[in-house]
Symmetry: C2
Subunit: 207 residues, 2 copies
């Protein structure tokens, strides 16, 4: 019984999170309405308040759910895994409202008085893990520090999706991500590793 | 007489722009108040409405004034000029409210229903001009396209300042900009040019 209740609660939370993401993705934080989120979720306010106390609470949860939307389908490690993660991210940003809303809220958070770096730091950790593997596999150029690359790539990805969103609704974000790696790999990877790494945009669609 | 009136009008506009920038920089778009902007400027609503019809009008003007806050003090061209512009930008973002507000509004604009790429495209053009010189001076790696580099650097700078702002109030943005170039130059510049280019952080302070 307890397990069934717990499972149902988790499902309700997930439904709320998705409904909130759709609302935030379409309208942004300020214009999003709790009532609309409940209508999208088909739930009552009571069901929501069990999980989230406020619109801000929902926004924080959506903002910090980004990483669960990304799982590279291909089995790779080191630099190739890092590349794959960014390609999946670029592809998913075009189709997954949870990721879109998370990124939008993270970028616009200053406008509603929030100052929360956690999603950026979480991406940083995910990338550092790939880069530490890359380092131990001798893929990195001497003197290049995994943490520096990770922080730069998190920042750069944040900015290129913003730019792409303004100029063409992120239509060519996957191609922009490939170009980022074409520019970065010579400074990051030893030549033998750079040659081995595939920047095939289709890797972002594999699952 | 007409000239004096015009000069006075330009000065009033500049005072309003600076006052608005301070207000937007501190509070963001939603919380900024016209009355506070007027109080900061020491002007009446009538003086403002001659230049700007609304808070949105002021925000657009602040957002698009960014480029006037950046003038590299050092006389350089090509890639070195591009590097210098980003170093001045990183330095000025810590001290100039007009640039800070412009960048903040450009990043958060989605939250107040705006969708205006012009400041990004203006930065793109400034950078393309440097890169076209770099190309004719044979500084660029073969196959590297000035427009691609410019769009990537505009996006990357936007994102790294956002990341730096969240983790440490942009305290180390100049160092992050230097690291960006350390990672990028091997993929962008031929080795002889890469060796010649100075990434001395102090170049951002020169004027």
């Amino acid at each position: 019984m307890a397990e069934i209740r717990q499972e149902r609660a988790l499902r309700t939370r997930e439904v709320l999170l998705r409904a909130a993401a759709e609302e935030f993705d379409e309208k942004g934080y300020a214009a999003a309405l709790i009532n609309q989120i409940l209508a999208r979720a088909g739930l009552t306010a009571g069901a929501m308040y069990f999980h989230f106390k406020s619109k801000e609470d929902l926004a924080v949860a959506v903002m910090n759910a980004q990483r669960h939307t990304i799982e590279p389908g291909l089995n790779a490690r080191g630099l190739q895994r890092l590349v794959d993660i960014t390609l999946v991210w670029a592809h998913q940003l075009r189709v997954d409202p949870l990721l879109r809303a998370g990124v939008r809220l993270a970028v616009e958070q200053g406008s509603f008085g929030m100052h929360d770096a956690s999603t950026f730091l979480e991406w940083r950790e995910i990338m550092v893990a790939c880069l530490v593997d890359a380092e131990s596999d001798k893929e990195l150029m001497p003197g290049v520090v995994p943490e520096d690359i990770a922080e730069f790539v998190v920042g750069a990805c944040t900015g290129i999706q913003l730019y792409a969103n303004l100029v063409n609704g992120r239509e060519d974000l996957v191609e922009r991500t490939v170009r980022m790696w074409e520019l970065l790999l010579p400074g990051v990877a030893v030549p033998s590793a750079a040659r081995r790494i595939s920047l095939d945009a289709e890797r972002g669609r594999a699952s």
